[in-house]
Amino acid sequence: MTAITTNPPSRAGRAFRRLAHHPSLLIGSGIVLLMVLIAIFAPLIAPHDPYVQDISRRAVPPVWYEKGTWENILGTDQLGRDYLSRLIYGTRVSLLIGFSVVAISGLIGTTLGLLAGYFGGKVDTFVTFIVTVRLAMPVILVALAVVALFGGSMWVVITVLGLLKWDRFAVVVRSTTQQIRALDYIASARTAGASTAWILLREVLPNIAPQLIVIATIEVASAILMEAALSFLGLGVQPPLPSWGLMISEAKSYMFFSFWLIAIPGTALATLVFAINLAGDGLRDMITPERS
């Protein structure tokens, strides 16, 4: 009765074989996994307390420079805090924001998309309408304004981005649901007397999961970048919390003389976003093989 009729072992095996054919997915998800581990075990890995300042030892260069020391492998920041430790703790901020935002926006977008796609008619018109309104609003400006009104903090950033970035989920889930709804097994479930909620959650949702995961990866990456942009503009995560965007923002006045101060968090940010997008791209190829 369910669409997924394949037996688990062969499915897992096939997935693994597929994975081997998609090096981008393998590399991307590998890097992301590594970053997640770093984030989880940050207190164990970080050589120093990321918050302790020593303003007499500012902007000490990383170890590979002449003046660098093993004491601070990536040097110190403009307030003499250990840069490697801040970078490691920054992984937490980026990942937490990325995943939390997508949890909120995914929930909102998927719900709206499911309802619109399944019920059609007036519900669909209404959802399409609010998606259009949402798309018409400039996200960064609205996010900046709300943060300015409520004050910047990590949770404000998460909430604001979560409430603003559900559009792609809604659009994709809506169209996918429309296609699935027309399939036979949904009709038979309905005639068998299954409740709407059951059909939506147990029949439709699992079948749009692949698309959802692809959208989610794109959105995680985009949320991380947006947080960095907000923090860069001073209206995101507030100090002394180490966010990569904030680290770049705080170090930018040093860029001509200590370029590594912005290069290090910039590279970390670009690597994480690149890895997530790489993984997402691989997933997309795996799901829609005809495109690759």
Binding site: I55, R58, Q78, L79, P240, E250, Y254, F259, W260
Partner: protein
Amino acid sequence: MFLRPLMLAAALACSTAGLAHAQAADNTLRFAYNQTLESPNPYFTTLRLGVIVGRNAWDTLIARDNDSGEFSPLLATEWIWADDTTLDLTLREGVTFHDGSDFDADDVVATLTYAADPANGIVSQQIASWIASVEKTGPLSVRIKAKAPTPAAMEYLSTQLAIFPAGYFTGPQGATSAPLPVGTGPYKFDSYAPGGELLLSRFEGYFADSPKTGAKIDKVSIRIVPDIQTQLADLMSGGVDLIMGLPRDQADQLSQMPGVQVVSGETMRIVFLQMNTTDTGQEALKDKRVRQAINHAIDRKSISENLVGQGSTVINAICFQDQFGCTQDVTSYDYDPEKAKALLAEAGVSGLTVSLAAYRERHISEAIINYLAEAGITAQLQFMQPAAMRDAMRAHQVDMMQNAWGAYSMFDASATAPVYFGAQPDDNNLDPELKTIFDQAGATMDAEQRKALYAQGFEKIAAEAYAVPMFTLPVQYAGAEGLSFQTYPDEILRFWEMSWQ
């Protein structure tokens, strides 16, 4: 990627060395400033840039000689105090405004009457609120009546009270029908775009007897460039000739570069943290021990030495040493985190979270936040534009405020103490006793008596730990090679003295 700084340093060395600033050729000075001017009218901004533009495009009645510190003639040639509250001035003949109209007594009456009326809402009320009336006693003579004896009157008349042509103002809040601001100063407005470029040009009709005469630069272009790194890039690539307010580290590094001159100037600007003890403030901050703990928690000396650098002195009282009435010999609090923790414990306060508003020197705010964190206090930074911070401060909306007060370059404690502790809008403690002391000090003509009153007030502020006095803030200027410019402790750029070599 990490090799780039080395390559860059070398590249910078080559590229700035042979730098011929295009501006030198067309005798233009390009100046970049990091904060947006809300109004080009000096009565409607507290920003340093507003003071700079004010001094270059306008004249005051009286000037103050840079070297001797004595008052000297400017728009007024003579003045005499008829009694403690009556000042008679004789005005200069033959002065013209930028719009070609002649300067006379009507202009002085109109401008000062406008500024003194609180309904017109000039930003710093204290500079004009002492004026009871201004009357014309002849075509070129006026009489100013003060409400009470005002020892600082000459300070106000020689710094902030710029004279506009009569009829310039058409309503409150600086409303005018003139397309561009009009003054009598050595530079006149060519164009002004809100938030964009402000272009000044030399006023050829400037009166020759002025101490501000002899301007050499033809045009001064002032642009708002908010980010320091963009300002540096502009300076190093020849897009800008002069910047000011560089952080210490950048100034140090820039001074190693050829083709750029870095000048560090001591100023009378003081940094201090205000604490809101009014009804809207945090309950904990109303406890003197908590405020003392905050004083003990911050290592002012280390911040001053490391982050601010040469030219910065730690202060104990909220005033600048050379201001009349200022004394630094008051109760002070050493850096002692243990004592801070003990005081907090004694007050029964734990896990205190306060908001900290700041509008400049963000790196200092962050150092402060980290020091407070060590004592167990979480400070949430609200970094905003000066005007927004001023509003929040005056509405008593934040717990702690990081101020950098230049006192309008006035050498009198009345420009500092009453502003923040004498029940004026910025006061966040509203201590009635301090108001009485500073009101009295502001109306006493006897110098010794005044000094004693200010000393009493500053001691009370320190003993109550109403604020965290920090240090004086030197200003770092960087100019293109070939630009001759002099800096002063009052942080006012005198474009009329600058030239290209």
